[in-house]
Symmetry: C2
C-alpha cells in the first residue's frame, strides 16, 4: 500500500543527499582557500580552538532530531576530511 | 595582513556549517518518517541495496574537491546516524 509513500520519501532523501553533497564540497573549497591563506601566513592548519568554537556554534543551533553528540560526530568527520584536503594541497604544492 | 580575509572565510564556513546542520536534521526527520512507514509494513530498517543506490547517485554527482571515497565515508556516517535514530524511535514506541 504505502510503497508510493516510501518512494516519495526516498526521492526527497535523494534530493537532500545531493544538496548535502553540494554544500559539503562548497565547504571544502572554502577550507582549501583558508589553507592557502594560512600557508602564506605560515600558520598551522589544525586549530583545535577554532574547531571547538565551530562545534559550540553548531550545537548551540542544533534543535534535533539528531542529538548534539551525533551532530558533533558527523561534523568532526567533515572537519577531518577538510584538513586532509589541505594536507593534500600542501603536498601537491611541494611537488610543483 | 590577511587576518581579515581569514575571518571572512571563517564566517562563511560558520554559515555553511549551520546550513549543513539544518539539512542534516531535515534529512533525519525524513528518515524518521521512512522508519515509521517501514515499521507499519514490517520491513527491515537497514537496506544495503538502497544504501548502495544512494551512494552511487551521490558519487555520480560528485565533482569534488572531495574524492568519492571521502564523500562515501561522510555519507555512511550520516546514514548510520539516521539508522540509529530509527532504532531509538522503535525502542521508544515499544516503551509506550
Amino acid at each position: 500500500m504505502s510503497n508510493k509513500e516510501l518512494d516519495q520519501l526516498r526521492q526527497q532523501v535523494d534530493e537532500m543527499n545531493l544538496d548535502l553533497l553540494k554544500l559539503i564540497n562548497e565547504r571544502a573549497r572554502l577550507v582549501q582557500e583558508i589553507g592557502k591563506v594560512k600557508e602564506k601566513q605560515g600558520v598551522n592548519r589544525y586549530d583545535p580552538v577554532r574547531e571547538r568554537k565551530m562545534l559550540d556554534l553548531i550545537k548551540d543551533q542544533n534543535d534535533g532530531p539528531f542529538e548534539h553528540s551525533t551532530v558533533e560526530h558527523i561534523f568532526k568527520e567533515i572537519f577531518k576530511a577538510g584538513l586532509e584536503l589541505q594536507k593534500d594541497d600542501h603536498r601537491k604544492a611541494l611537488l610543483v
